[in-house]
Amino acid sequence: LFDVDDYGTAIVIGDGSVAPELEDKARLAVANCPEYAITISE
């Protein structure tokens, strides 16, 4: 779902669409982002 650049900043891979098998992990990311910077639209 995410990659990390040379500065350690997380960036979304591709267009941000989430494969069904990764949906749980995407929800974990939303629940734990310290800056509340991740949202999921369904």
Binding site: V4, D5, D6, Y7, G8, L28, A31, N32, C33, P34
Partner: protein, 405 residues
């Protein structure tokens, strides 16, 4: 050397984080303050110090770089001489706008792709320490998980990353002790230190100028801000930061985690039987036993939620207290080993958030994994001695090994 202030009788009106009782009873003290309706404690000690203890207030101070300066981040009886915006240990002692330049240049060497390759080396280090404990007789052997294990891991890694000689770990631990623990002594006593860390670092800088190599010291010597090399003071200050911040913080987190497991056999069993739970357990160790409290100085007189804060008074930022705030976390006082939602503040909040968090997480994870792999069952075997001051963790931690792999 004992402190100049003496024991505390009222934590709301006379809080002192460097009295031994504070770290021994930290969780109870925060609960008592909350239940007593005191979200911001105060003391006249240290020339005036405030201590917000809720997540909301700690976050507000951490984000407000206008009213609170990072010129000083370790509360003590004196005041820092080096001026903002650089400060004595950039970027942690720097304010905007300089801060972002000093921070940005340190991010790449601590990004995951530079830190992850250290994992095998950290595993070897941990196993070497476990081997050095000698013959272990389950049921009778008592080891000290702080003195024989936790305290050696981060100092070894960061001094190697900086490219320092291999046998100076004891010296670095003494530096940490003087910088972080000996804070409630007269300034003259602090000034009389015989450690001369600046001179030690000057020698390392000189040696690296003559013999550049692939390490953080050479990296800092080659780094530039706006096309200019860093000043000598900036290079040395960032080395102080990496050395100090990289030692007793993670050492404390490893020790507190083992301290918890030694008293909670069900959590220990879960980690041994279900290694995948480590993803969540790691964050819960960091939340429940966050080692690091930072501080700020009040930049100018202002009223903060009814508290008349005066310029140059200290403000303590107890991230560990914020992590146990029931307004922020369900079961905040408990330990939920598989807690899925865990926005803890163990690495701080705002622009000064820990830039070594990838390394700290790796060291903590590997240290716990290797310890429980070697000793799948263990229990506390005596009194724990806690550190004093802003970094909280066990300094003496006797553990009886009950099972050896």
């Amino acid at each position: 050397m004992t402190g100049i202030y003496g024991p505390v009788t009222d934590w709301a009106t006379d809080i002192d984080h460097a009295e031994p009782e504070y770290n021994e009873r930290a969780h109870e003290i925060w609960d008592e303050l909350r239940e007593g309706g005191c979200p911001i404690a105060h003391t006249d000690r240290y020339g005036g110090m405030w201590a917000p203890i809720t997540h909301e207030l700690v976050k507000e101070v951490a984000y407000d770089t206008e009213h609170f300066t990072s010129r000083g981040v370790i509360v003590n009886t004196g005041r820092p001489i080096a001026e903002a915006p650089v400060g004595p240990a950039p970027p942690i002692t720097s304010d905007p706008p300089f801060h972002q330049h000093a921070r940005r240049l340190l991010l790449p060497p601590f990004a995951p792709k530079m830190i992850d390759p250290w994992e095998p080396e950290i595993r070897r280090l941990c196993n070497g320490l476990l081997d050095d404990m000698g013959e272990i007789e389950p049921g009778t052997s008592i080891i000290d998980a702080a003195l024989q294990y936790a305290q050696h891991i981060p100092v070894n890694v960061i001094s190697r990353m900086l490219g320092f000689p291999p046998d100076d770990d004891d010296y670095f631990r003494r530096c940490v002790h003087e910088f972080i623990e000996l804070v409630n002594v007269p300034v003259e006593i602090r000034d009389q230190s015989d450690l001369h860390l600046d001179e030690y670092l000057d020698r390392q800088i000189e040696e690296h100028r003559d013999h550049p190599r692939d390490d953080l010291t050479t990296y800092l010597l080659n780094a530039e801000i706006g096309g200019n090399k860093l000043s000598h003071e900036h290079v040395r200050g960032s080395m102080v930061l990496l050395l100090i911040a990289g030692i007793d913080t993670t050492w404390s987190a490893i020790g507190s985690s083992i301290w918890h497991l030694a008293q909670h056999p069900a959590d220990l069993e879960r980690i041994v039987d279900d290694p995948d739970v480590m993803l969540f357990a790691l964050e819960e160790f960091l939340r429940a036993y966050a080692p690091v409290t930072m501080a700020r100085l009040v930049a100018q007189d202002h009223d903060f939620h009814g508290c008349p804060m005066k310029e140059n008074e200290w403000v303590l930022l107890p991230f560990p207290a914020a992590n146990r705030d029931p307004a922020m976390f369900d079961d905040a006082g408990g330990f939920v080993i598989d807690r899925e939602e865990n926005r803890h503040a163990a690495f701080g909040l705002g622009i000064h958030r820990c830039l070594g968090s990838n390394l700290a997480r790796l060291e903590l994870k590997v240290a716990i994994q290797e310890f429980v792999a070697r000793f799948p069952k263990f229990e506390l075997a005596g009194d724990t001695t806690w550190s004093v001051g802003q970094i909280r963790g066990p300094r003496v931690l006797p553990v009886r090994v009950l099972e050896r792999a």
